[in-house]
């Protein structure tokens, strides 16, 4: 009912966004680039940080004394969303892309560690037996029996997280953590709807481009 009454307002809002103000295009593109950078850097760092955590929280690799605490810490940290981390890091280190990267790293590390550990738990135990039987060390078993099985999965999870992080990083600007979200919020507050619509269109284009590249890469992995 409230939605139905809101429809004219939404239509009015959309009408006032037309036509997009292309004078802000350079600023929007620069913001988009910054957002992509935040997501790329944050995801890349998290992909590496999550590696040890992923193995340590896999039931079939880590000893119980390590596995249970690792799982508990991960579950605790993962319950906080990227945006909340951004608020915390903006408060801690100030405005700009740096707290944005930290926020992406914090959330992505824990969520990737969880995905990694599930991939490790899902491996075929046969090759592990076989490599163990050759007299290999734990590290060698990991390298020759576990990693070859999980690496393509890991890479596809990282790309998937990258796609999500591009979207998450868009919103980061709202709380002052850098990127295109900052422009979107600014123009909306200034009631400059044509400028805001340009920023919005750039955002949509950016997300679509990254999704397309990433999903093509993922297809090739599997």
């Amino acid at each position: 009912m409230r939605l139905a009454r809101g429809v004219p307002w939404i239509l009015d809002f959309l009408r006032r966004m037309m036509p997009p103000d292309l004078r802000v295009l350079p600023a929007a593109l620069a913001g988009a680039l910054k957002t992509v950078e935040i997501a790329l850097l944050g995801t890349a760092v998290a992909a590496l940080l999550a590696l040890p955590l992923g193995f340590l929280s896999a039931r079939n690799v880590a000893p119980g004394a390590v596995f249970y605490p690792a799982r508990a810490v991960l579950n605790f940290l993962r319950s906080v969303d990227t945006l909340v981390y951004a608020l915390i890091f903006v408060a801690a280190v100030g405005l700009g892309p740096f707290p944005g990267v930290l926020a992406v790293v914090a959330y992505t590390t824990t969520s990737l560690a969880k995905l990694y550990s599930e991939a490790v738990e899902g491996i075929d135990p046969g090759p592990v037996d076989a490599v163990t039987a050759t007299g290999a060390t734990r590290l060698q078993i990991l390298r020759y029996a576990v990693i070859p099985q999980v690496l393509p999965l890991f890479l596809s999870y990282v790309l998937y997280r990258l796609e999500s992080n591009i979207r998450a990083a868009t919103v980061l600007g709202f709380v002052g953590a850098g990127g295109i979200g900052f422009y979107l919020q600014t123009y909306l507050r200034l009631i400059d709807y044509p400028a805001a619509s340009t920023v919005l269109l750039v955002t949509v284009a950016m997300v679509m481009v990254v999704d397309a590249i990433s999903s093509r890469l993922r297809d090739r992995l599997v």
């Binding site: 046969g126 076989a130 490599v131 039987a133 007299g135 060698q140 390298r143 070859p148 099985q149």
Partner: protein, 246 residues
């Protein structure tokens, strides 16, 4: 070569898979372990290199105590024990040569091997083992592009790359087309005869076991019910092992 005394293996929660086995295997024997599924054949073989932890009893292989060995010592003993599995257990995405090189892991320097580097001599050995099973031309192929019979031959090459004193084979032909059984068993026999390696092979097919082995050990409910030459396996002995009609 293999000395087992008073071996008991209790699998969780409380199944006595091996319930008191004493067995001595001499150098160069080709022992076929027979028995119904669930008789303890697989558990027995896997306890010999402690892929399964024995609950009680002692195991010695090539003069060294397997039971009670520390982690480093156990790895050294494992190098001497090649193992072939029913499901081949190759790393499917890795190349054939990489799979065979895994057999050298117990010998090569640890850090370079984790980085994927093997000494040239070990590569040559791996290639030689691959040639021995007639698959040298597949060295660079991905393991999962090979047929089942070929994958099992790669697995045998991996075991040979260990320069083992003993080879354990757990139902090596059970997941293969019956027409491939002899090709795998012939290779195992050749290893046994030409290199004097001691073989312990579990088999569910009686005829195959009788045709290749020099000694038959029958398992039933985790105990040895028959131990003797293939010529001693009369129909009544077979019934005793397999429990038909009793």
């Amino acid at each position: 070569m293999i000395e087992v005394a008073g071996l008991r293996v209790v699998l969780p929660p409380a199944t006595a898979a091996i319930d008191g086995i004493d067995l001595v295997v001499s150098r160069g024997e080709f022992v076929a372990v027979l028995g119904r599924s669930g008789a303890g054949k697989t558990t027995f073989l896997r306890s010999l290199n402690r892929l399964v932890e024995p609950t009680a009893g002692t195991i010695r292989v090539a003069g060294r105590a397997v039971t009670g060995a520390g982690a480093a010592e156990l790895r050294e003993i494992r190098r001497q024990i090649g193992m072939v599995f029913q499901q081949f257990n190759l790393v499917r995405r890795a190349s054939v040569l990489e799979n065979v090189l895994a057999g050298r892991l117990g010998y090569v320097p640890a850090v370079p091997s984790v980085l994927g580097r093997f000494p040239a001599a070990d590569r040559e050995q791996a290639l030689a083992c691959l040639a021995q099973v007639g698959l040298a031309h597949f060295a660079d192929r991905r393991a999962d592009t090979l047929s089942g019979g070929e994958q099992q031959r790669v697995a045998i090459a991996r075991a040979l790359a260990q320069r083992p004193a003993v080879v354990l084979a757990d139902e090596p032909t059970a997941s293969l087309d019956p027409s491939l059984t002899s090709s795998i068993m012939d290779i195992l026999k050749a290893i046994n005869v030409e290199h004097g390696l001691t073989l312990v092979v579990s088999q569910h097919q009686l005829e195959t076991a009788l045709a290749y082995a020099t000694r038959i050990v029958g398992f039933r409910q985790g105990r040895v019910t028959f131990d003797g030459p293939p010529s001693g396996v009369t129909p009544s002995v077979a019934r005793m092992i397999y429990g038909d009609g009793s």
